[in-house]
């Protein structure tokens, strides 16, 4: 191969190599271009992305800034040296400092002097320890000089582990702080008050264990707080009596009720003390009961006074009872001789007396009656005062009541030269319902006063119908006098107990001073009000208004129409009485009424008598020696099995005595001293006598009627009664003396008048006696029978 050939080949290789290189280069260029295009596109995307991100960040920044700026919290930044680098508007608003005044200033400049050191130390430590966040509270001084409390949370921002700045969030907690201080102040105040009030306070949990004992409670019980806490107060302090009280209270408190109660406790030293406890449940914030709180006050002193007072009250009550018993016994003691005086005076009056003696006896009777009224006043008064007085509402005739009242006071009126006028409204029905006894008592009292205080004048008792409505009548009662009158001053205490118009009244007019108070109370019980109008020197008017029902039925009428039954047709009466005077009186009266009387001087004798003999009625004294009336009655009822009516003769007015009598088996009672009419009523009620006998009319005026007018008849009847009463006294005396000739004499004397006034039966007895031819025994029996008849005639005519 020649050189040329070699060179050609070498050149050819070089050309090929160059083409190869060019081709590589082109490929590389293309690759480079494409890479470049890719890069460009990437770059563009990146730029757009960056742009977008940048805008987003800017937006976020605006948002965050606006958030921070519009926040209601204080937000600021300080650098690591403590200088403000950013503050939000709230910071300036709350502190009062402008942004200019704050930025670049050290935060310590605004903190209250005494907190600077502590706060600086905190943040220096945070810087040193790289603590992420610290929270603290401190006061700053605002621009206006006021102190503000901040609750501040400072977050340390790090840049690659190196402290960069603090981002701080603060709340203005001044109000909370003030409130806390106020609460603390208030707590302190109440604590002080409670401690000074000497109230022992105790907190107990639901298991009855002491949670806390306040000093005053410790002082009260003598235990220290450590001795008390964890213990059961009831086990430690209470005995049996206290535990019972507590048990009840605990149940109440579990129902959420607070209560106040008193309880006896035992102190550490064993002494007892009474405490008053006010207990109430207390709760946690969820409303669950944690326990109870009790406030204890030592009331031992009060308790001892209470106990003394109770003793005093008991003593006073005992004294009062003793006094009442004394009063009752006294009234019994007074009534027994009174009974004798009145009874004997009554009997004496019926015996033959000369005119002087008649006036003496009359004086004895009226005085003893006055005394009895006085005693009854006193008893009534105490009955009213104790509310024991009850009314007996029955039908009664108002006219009769007025007439009787007038008649009762006529003698006194005559004495004083007083005319008593009665005025009864014709519209008022004849019979009304009320308690005639009490109404009568009031009228007697008022009329009595009117008569007493009037001299030479008129006294008017009037009843007017004010209105009527369906059987109910409103009646006004007036008792008007022309007496001394009552001044306005005197009227003030006119109705008070034991007072009279003035002190001199009692001296001049007498009286107990109980009359008007009793009347006022009785009128009140009857449903009215007793009032008075008066002019000093001219007279007074006592008046009251009552609403009374008209009694339509003519059935049972009041007892004022009662006619004394003078003949019990030899009824067998057993009189059981130990007092001989009383026995004599009762026996005399009973025999007068044609009773056959047996006397036993005590219960035992009565029982003995009844074992062999019988009786139609027993009058039984309650208090007797050997055996009393109650015991005797029980024996008669239970052992002798007798149902004979037994009437108690009660001598006193002890409450419940009458009830005891009824319980023992008695049927009724008569209060001693009794008026004859009272005894008569009881006998009529319990002795069944022959209808013909009892209701026998012994009066026959037909002979008289033919001889003249009514006035003549009235005069004749009055004359008969006057004469016959006198003759009857002599007749009875002769009967007692068994003086037959004297009896014949009297029979002869009265025969003509008897013929004109009495029935033929009576007249025949007189005539038969005058011309007696039979046995002496029968003569005296007939005489006795005539005596009863005449007595009966007089009663019937009256």
């Amino acid at each position: 191969m020649d050189d040329l050939e070699i060179l050609k080949r070498a050149i050819k290789r070089e050309k090929l190599a160059r083409k190869q290189a060019e081709s590589i280069m082109e490929a590389k260029s293309l690759e480079l271009y494409e890479s470049n295009q890719k890069l460009l596109s990437l770059n563009q995307n990146l730029e757009a992305e960056i742009d977008k991100r940048t805008k987003e960040i800017a937006q976020k920044e605006i948002e965050f800034k606006s958030l921070v700026e519009s926040a209601t919290e204080i937000i600021f930044k300080i650098n690591t040296e403590g200088y403000f680098t950013y503050i939000n508007p709230v910071t300036t608003k709350i502190s009062g400092y402008s942004e200019k005044e704050l930025l670049g200033q050290n935060f310590t400049k605004f903190v209250r002097q005494d907190h600077i050191a502590k706060l600086s130390e905190l943040y220096l430590s945070q810087l040193k320890m790289l603590t992420e966040t610290t929270v603290t509270e401190f006061p700053i001084v605002a621009k206006n000089g006021k102190e503000l409390w901040f609750n501040q949370s400072a977050t340390l921002i790090l840049d690659n582990g190196v402290p960069l700045e603090f981002v701080v969030l603060s709340h203005d907690v001044t109000e909370v702080k003030m409130a806390q201080e106020a609460v603390a102040l208030s707590e302190e105040k109440y604590r002080g008050i409670i401690e000074n009030l000497e109230l022992g306070i105790l907190e107990v949990d639901n298991d009855d264990k002491i949670l806390k004992a306040y000093p005053q409670f410790c002082k009260l019980t003598g235990y220290t707080e450590s001795e008390l806490v964890g213990k059961s107060p009831s086990a430690l302090l209470l005995k049996k009596d206290g535990l019972a009280i507590l048990k009840k209270q605990v149940e109440e408190r579990k129902k959420g009720k607070s209560s106040v109660y008193e309880i006896p406790i035992t102190k550490k030293n064993g002494e007892h003390a009474w405490v008053i406890i006010s207990g109430a449940p207390f709760y946690n914030l969820k409303g669950e009961q944690l326990g109870t709180m009790g406030i204890h006050l030592d009331i031992s002193h009060r308790k001892s006074i209470e106990s003394q007072l109770r003793d005093s009250k008991r003593k006073a009550e005992e004294l009062y009872r003793v006094k009442e018993l004394f009063l009752a016994n006294m009234s019994h003691e007074i009534r027994t001789p009174m009974n004798a005086i009145i009874g004997m005076a009554e009997l004496l009056e019926q015996s033959k007396l000369d005119s002087k003696q008649v006036s003496y006896v009359s004086a004895i009777r009226s005085s003893s009656k006055s005394l009895l009224v006085l005693i009854n006043d006193l008893l009534d008064f105490s009955k009213i005062e104790s509310g024991k007085l009850t009314l007996e509402i029955i039908p009664f005739k108002i006219k009769n009541l007025l007439v009787k009242t007038k008649e009762l006071l006529l003698p006194k009126a005559d004495e004083n030269g007083v005319e008593i006028r009665l005025q009864l409204d014709p519209e008022i029905p004849e019979t009304l319902f009320s308690d005639p006894t009490r109404l009568g008592q009031v009228l007697i009292n008022l009329l009595g006063n009117a008569v007493k205080f009037t001299t030479n004048g008129a006294v008017t008792i009037s009843v007017k119908c004010v209105s009527k409505n369906a059987g109910l009548f409103q009646l006004q009662f007036d008792v008007q006098d022309e007496g001394i009158g009552i001044s306005k001053e005197e009227m003030n205490n006119l109705f008070e107990n034991f007072t009279q118009a003035n002190q001199s009244t009692a001296r001049i007019y007498g009286g107990t001073g109980l009359g008007l108070p009793i009347s006022k109370k009785l009128v009140g019980l009857l449903g009215g009000t007793l009032e008075v109008s008066s002019t000093k020197g001219k007279g007074s008017n006592f008046y009251f208004t009552l609403n009374l029902k008209a009694a339509t039925s003519q059935g049972k009428l009041e007892k004022n129409t009662f006619e004394v039954q003078g003949n019990f047709n030899r009824a067998q009466v057993l009189l059981v009485e130990d007092n001989p005077v009383n026995t004599l009186i009762a026996k005399t009266i009973l025999e007068k009424w044609n009773c056959s009387v047996e006397v036993a001087s005590n219960g035992k004798e009565a029982v003995l008598y009844l074992q062999s003999s019988s009786a139609d009625l027993i009058l039984m004294d309650v208090r007797m020696p050997v055996m009393g009336g109650l015991e005797a009655t029980q024996i008669i009822r239970k052992e002798l099995q007798l149902d004979i009516p037994i009437i108690a003769l009660t001598g006193n007015a002890i409450k419940g005595d009458n009830e005891k009598c009824m319980e023992a088996g008695m049927n009724d009672y008569v209060s001693k001293p009794f008026e004859q009419i009272d005894l008569n009523k009881v006998l009529v009620k319990w002795i069944s006598i022959d209808e013909k006998m009892s209701n026998q009319n012994l009066v026959d005026l037909t002979n008289l009627e033919g001889m003249g007018d009514q006035e003549f008849m009235d005069r004749m009847v009055a004359l008969f009664v006057e004469e016959t009463e006198k003759e009857l006294v002599s007749f009875n005396q002769a009967l007692e003396e068994k003086n037959a000739s004297r009896l014949c004499e009297i029979a002869h004397k009265i025969k003509p008048s008897v013929k004109y006034v009495c029935t033929l039966g009576v007249y025949e007895k007189v005539r038969s006696l005058e011309t007696w031819s039979g046995s002496p025994t029968e003569f005296f029996d007939l005489a006795r029978s005539l005596s009863f008849d005449l007595h009966q005639v007089i009663l019937q005519l009256q």
Binding site: D3, I6, L7, A10, R18, Q20, A21, I24, K28
Partner: protein, 179 residues
């Protein structure tokens, strides 16, 4: 293997043995590239070994000797073409920068290049132990390059292969600087 190694090798053969020798080697080695090489191209290293082997056969010079000579020559080409890599105070410092600086720069231009690694370890002030690693097994070429470097930095150095591992894939080269 980078085209520059082939172009420089043929340059050196032409320079030392004449263009006819170049023709003969290319003719006698059944080369896939037909001996057409450009410095920016990449070719199989087997072609290099084929051509070095042919030259050794034709001129009866051991392959390792040829590779050492070629290495020494190639360094001057590199130092002329890439003076920016040579800016080092001495040879040892330069050698230390091959792995850390020069090869990363080469990879920027030729990302597909398969480069040997040189792990340098100083044995005192004037001795270096350089561990060569490459599947190409061209430690001799490396020895030539090191000698070229020593010449470039005007230093006298004794460079010799000290130990071989994995059939020449790892070779420890000892470099002793002499005064």
């Amino acid at each position: 293997m980078k085209g520059i190694v082939f172009t420089e090798f043929l340059e050196l053969v032409e320079d030392k043995f004449g263009i006819a020798m170049v023709e003969q080697i290319i003719d006698e080695c059944d080369l896939k590239s037909q001996g057409v090489y450009t410095s920016v191209g990449t070719y199989s290293h087997k072609e290099m070994f084929a051509m070095v082997g042919k030259l050794s056969e034709l001129k009866d010079i051991p392959v390792n000797q040829l590779l050492e000579l070629f290495g020494e020559y190639f360094f001057t080409t590199l130092s002329t073409g890439y003076p920016q890599f040579m800016d080092q105070p001495n040879m040892f410092t330069f050698l230390k920068t091959i792995d850390s600086y020069i090869h990363p720069e080469v990879l920027k231009l030729y990302p597909e290049a398969e480069l040997p690694s040189f792990q340098a370890e100083m044995k005192g002030d004037d001795e270096m132990s350089l561990k060569y690693r490459s599947t190409r097994k061209m430690a001799d070429f490396a020895v030539g390059l090191i000698r070229g470097a020593a010449a470039f930095y005007g230093e006298k150095a004794r460079v010799k292969k000290q130990e071989e591992f994995d059939e020449g894939q790892t070779v420890v080269i000892n470099i002793k600087r002499e005064a």
